[in-house]
């Protein structure tokens, strides 16, 4: 029973990272209409910025997280304005944006490889919460608790922002039609910048927390999150944060249990089968709107 519970927490924690990453991924797709594969690079860069700030400037871990989150958001805005904004004016559609995002993924990954010297680094164990919390039946690493709580806060916060506020209404309006939103008095440019920042920041949070929890900060960190985050968005529904969070966590639990009770060999295969099943049988995902579409 202890083993089951410990693996359950491991799964929830792993899935929370997928969810956190997927929130931003889905947000950009639903609002900006971009299937942005460069999203993975934001996580890598955020983790790298966080690591450097601890290693070279000795900042406390929460500050390093803040730097990573802010850095992820700024990079996302830069990519959007340099890469995607010119395409919006030309109405090149999703394919042009996808190809552009692939180019940015390669550029950002290469640059990240250069600054890390293609090595993998880790936060010094004394710099982040690396202890265990005794919950009676089981002991849980502090970082896992931080990851799970962060995901819940981000999930609830961004859901509330989108569904309950005027800014969220503007984001949904721009996601439907930026021209119509502009006619209604919404400033689409500001909404786009805010959305890009939020997406980059959540991806950055996943990167820094994941990098600390797994002792692996490298230019390839984001690649591992990319497919799983995408799967969380597809299974949960592109335009619903709740779905992404639930699907991400379920995905993490399934991965850990498949590895524990079946075999590691089937673990990634399970993710792909789940992804394919939803794409074929329920493309709008668990919570996605029936009428959701992108231009």
């Amino acid at each position: 029973m202890t083993l089951f519970l410990e693996q359950l927490v491991n799964g929830i924690s792993l899935g929370s990272l997928y969810a956190l990453f997927g929130i931003g991924f889905g947000l950009v797709f639903a609002t900006l209409g971009v299937l942005n594969v460069a999203h993975g690079a934001y996580a890598s860069w955020a983790a790298i910025l966080g690591y450097f700030s601890v290693e070279y400037f000795g900042v406390p871990f929460p500050v390093a997280v803040g730097i990573g989150v802010f850095g992820g958001g700024i990079i996302a805005i830069a990519v959007d304005q340099i890469g995607f904004q010119p395409l919006r004016g030309r109405k090149t559609g999703m394919l042009g944006a996808l190809i552009t995002s692939i180019a940015f993924l390669i550029i950002l990954d290469s640059l990240a490889g250069m600054v890390t010297n293609h090595q993998s680094w880790a936060f010094p164990s004394s710099s982040y919460p690396s202890g265990m919390v005794d919950l009676g039946i089981i002991r849980v690493p502090e970082m896992q608790i931080i990851i799970i709580v962060s995901t819940l806060i981000c999930g609830v916060g961004i859901y509330a922002l989108i569904q309950k506020t005027r800014i969220g209404a503007a984001m949904r309006a721009v996601g439907w039609s930026d021209e119509a939103a502009a006619l209604s008095g919404v400033n689409p440019r500001m909404v786009i910048l805010l959305t890009a920042f939020l997406a980059g920041a959540t991806s950055g949070l996943a990167g820094v927390l994941g990098g600390a929890a797994t002792s692996n900060i490298s230019h390839m960190l984001g690649e591992g999150l990319l497919l799983k985050g995408f799967a969380a968005v597809v299974v949960g529904g592109f335009d619903d944060v709740r779905g992404t969070v639930i699907a991400g966590i379920l995905l993490g639990i399934c991965e850990v249990f498949v590895a524990q009770y079946l075999s590691t060999t089937y673990r990634d295969g399970f993710t792909y089968v789940l992804l394919l099943t939803f794409l074929v049988a329920r493309p709008r995902g668990l919570f996605g709107s029936r009428d959701f579409m992108r231009a």
């Binding site: 693996q7 792993l14 490889g113 265990m132 929890a213 002792s215 692996n216 590691t264």
Partner: protein
């Protein structure tokens, strides 16, 4: 009559001298002075760049030493022509094809991954271009006379370490972490398992991970739950570090045994005390290797890079020394074919930091075995039973 005797003796002496000189000629042979280019397919970027850069830097140290000491011959200068494959087979094949077409390239060295080594070997063979494998460990990679390997086949060192661990620690329950997508590491783990099981220890878990994995919370929980008093981690570098870190963070205090992937100083810099006391077997390690060649190599490496070399740097260094030794044995204008034959026939790499590196049919044989561990202070010492 006396004159005739004297002439006979003189003739005989001259004949013996000529004969002696004839036999001795190869030892004193030198290739024509000039610049000779060696192609290196490196792994300076990509998923195993941390090791790849060490190989490359070791090769650079060898080039500098050979050129300054004339180890490849009087007036001979070696130049390293590097193409980064990023551990991508297609890029490695492309690089080797370019080296094959470039007649200025006299020999090549390549590859950490066995699959890539196997992919580029036919290109070396078809271009009659000597290829020295510096990192890949799969058996049967050498092909006469063009493809040789300075990497000893894995197995004997882990077996020696396992025998010692089993004898001194007498483990009862052992868990194994395996690399499910790496047949070499899997074979090494199985060799260790066989030795440990023979000592009477029970195998309580075989947990498979993948090279690209980064989260080891689940595998660590799984392993600890089986209550092992010894854990063997036989995976590639990043998973090994991740598994050990996850095990220690979850409170596992038993003995862990692993491979030379833990040896680079960068690994200690990353992991610190977490990896102290964990034994691993290898042939070269600063702080432990004390042969004249080893000390010279370590000093040159430190002077150049302000860091200690690891076992991968030593292998890159030796690959170039092996080529230089082959070149030195040739006379006149060396050809790729002559160099390949000379290298294939080599039985010992003269300049090596291992304290001896025998070669047999183009394949390095297992040199001496050092069983070492990191201390908490970041030094490497010979392992002693705790």
């Amino acid at each position: 009559m006396k004159m005739l005797e004297t002439s006979k003796r003189a003739l005989l002496s001259a004949g013996y001298m000529a004969l002696a000189l004839g036999f001795a000629a190869p030892a004193y042979a030198d290739p024509d002075a000039g610049e000779y280019r060696i192609g290196m397919v490196s792994d300076d970027s990509g998923p195993i760049a941390s090791a790849g850069q060490s190989y490359h830097q070791g090769a650079d140290i060898a080039i500098a030493e050979i050129n300054s000491k004339g180890l490849a011959g009087e007036g001979v200068t070696l130049v390293l022509d590097v193409k980064d494959s990023g551990s991508d087979a297609a890029r490695a094949v492309q690089a080797m094809t370019q080296f094959g077409s470039d007649r200025n390239i006299l020999a090549t060295t390549c590859c950490i991954l066995s699959a890539i080594a196997a992919a580029v070997s036919p290109i070396a063979m078809s271009n009659e271009l000597p290829l020295v494998i510096y990192g890949a460990t799969r058996a049967s990679l050498p092909q006469e006379p063009y493809v040789t390997s300075v990497v000893a086949l894995p197995g004997p060192q882990e077996v020696a370490m396992s025998e010692r661990i089993a004898k001194e620690l007498k483990p009862q329950k052992v868990a194994y972490y395996l690399a499910g997508d790496n047949d070499i590491f899997m074979a090494r783990a199985m060799a260790m398992k066989e030795v440990i099981e023979k000592s009477g220890a029970a195998t309580v878990a075989e947990i498979t991970t993948l090279t690209a994995d980064t989260d080891f919370t689940g595998p660590a929980t799984q392993g600890i739950a089986t209550g092992p008093d010894l854990i063997v981690v036989m995976t590639t570098q990043q998973p090994t570090i991740g598994i050990i870190t996850a095990l220690r963070q979850r409170g596992y205090e038993g003995m862990i045994v692993t491979s030379e992937v833990l040896s680079p100083p960068a690994v200690f810099k990353k992991s610190g005390e977490t990896i102290s006391g964990i034994p691993f077997a290898l042939s070269f390690q600063p702080g432990v290797s004390d042969s004249e060649a080893a000390v010279a190599f370590i000093e040159a490496y430190q002077a150049q890079y302000n860091a200690l070399p690891d076992v991968y740097a030593a292998q890159g260094y030796m690959a170039i020394q092996f080529i230089a030794q082959g070149l030195k044995s040739l006379d006149g204008k060396p050809t790729r074919q002559d160099l390949a034959k000379a290298m294939w026939g080599t039985t010992e790499i003269a300049v090596n930091p291992y304290g001896g590196q025998p070669m047999e049919s183009g394949q390095a044989r297992t040199p001496n075995t050092l069983i070492v561990n990191w201390t908490k202070d970041g030094e490497v010492k010979l392992w002693e039973k705790p």
